[in-house]
Amino acid sequence: MIVEIIISQMPYLLHGLWVALQLLACLLALGLVLGLSLALLEVYGHWTLRWLGILFERIFRGIPAIVLLLLFYYGVTDFVEIGSFMAAVLALGLRSAAYQSQIFRGCILSVPPGQMQAARAMGMSKMKAVRDIVLPQALRLSIGPWTNEFSSEMKATSLAYVIGVVELTRQAKYIISSTQGNILIVFAVVAALYFIFNRLGNWGLYKLEKKLAVPGFEQRGDA
């Protein structure tokens, strides 16, 4: 009976998962672009920009995701007309930018300073040295810690239902309430879905890390 319910409800759970994955892609993309810019500002920028970057990062790392969601849905929407999904992308994406900026900042700083000095000595401009020498190394290094961010944001998408994004967790609640029960089994299936996609994402990212690795060039030991 419960197996039948799960099988018949699977398309709706998968649709919820699809919405969660869209939210994840959007918020990670926003976080990636903004986070990398923030990291570059914090490392190379003028002190005023650096200070602004740090302020942004402290604020968004210091507020719970669920509070950010409510603030964006009820607060920001007073000024700009945005829907639940956009509000969730902004709230979680800006928060992710704060976390990602720290990943990228750490990785940029872990590229030995000699690399920069050598590039400059060869006559490269600072911009070119960052783009062609420092970032290719730093970004490779950042894939590892970034998988962690991927996992934690994937799980954070489950909070978006509080502002009306009908993602996987909310779909599960629909099934529970329309059958007035079965909480454990439905959430066990949902947990399995989150777990599987988390592992898949991490597996892909590790593959990417391996693929991009430069043979013979390792940082281990000499950093």
């Binding site: 709706y12 869209q22 993309a29 926003l30 009908v166 529970i176 007035q180 029960g181």
Partner: protein, 278 residues
Amino acid sequence: MRKKLQGLVGGTAFAVVGALGLNAANAEALVAGVEASFPPWAYVEDGEYKGIAIDAMRAIAEDQDMEVEFKDLPWPSLIPALAKGRIDLLVTGLNITEERNEVLDFSIPWWENDDEVLVAEDSDLNVVTALCCGATVGAQGGATQYQWLEDNLEANEDVDVTLRSYEDYVTAIEDMGTGRLDAVVTSTDTAEDFIAKDRPVKIVGTIQQNQPQALAVQKGDPNEILGKLNAGIMNIYESGQWTEIVKEYSPQSTIRSIPTTMPDYVDAYEEPIPGYSD
């Protein structure tokens, strides 16, 4: 590396644009906020909104030539979302209370409810022992039942009860199943729905509240929908559609004559009532 990264960023940007396109809502339609985990009033089954409030709202919309789309929000978010104008009307089994009257305007009441005291099927508790003497009682946070328990039992020093609030009644009933709660107090239709769906609970007593329920719009009715709602409610009631809808979801319910009790503190019930007495 750079090419690959560019590809990656380009791909995600594409996903962003695609997802935004999906979310473009119909700007014309009124947005009706529902809590879609509240059978028999509003719930989702097989990907479709269902329930008394949902079907009645669809019938009213058809009758009054309105375009309405449903938006699901968790119960504690619904009233703030309406007050903030994130949704245009509230369509659920919404009880009329004085506090809510301060922040929203009610349609004419279409339902009346009492509260039921539920205990586990194998429990020995009765209506008195379930609500006193060290019992732990659950209700939905922000619901009128919770408010009643707080004002009448918890605030009374002679009655020793512990209250627990839940986001929805399904979790409260589940918690009673595991023995963390002795009793759950919920409205008559929700209680009967649990029993109809074979949950292991029984009703040990009824708290008579004659609690009217209605639809609601933003305070002051800025979109002028109250008149249409009231006229639509009367039309579907008089045509018999209302009875059909209620009987489909809740065959055991008695249909009350609409409008049910109209409390005199409700601003929207001052004569003339738009769509009803004008």
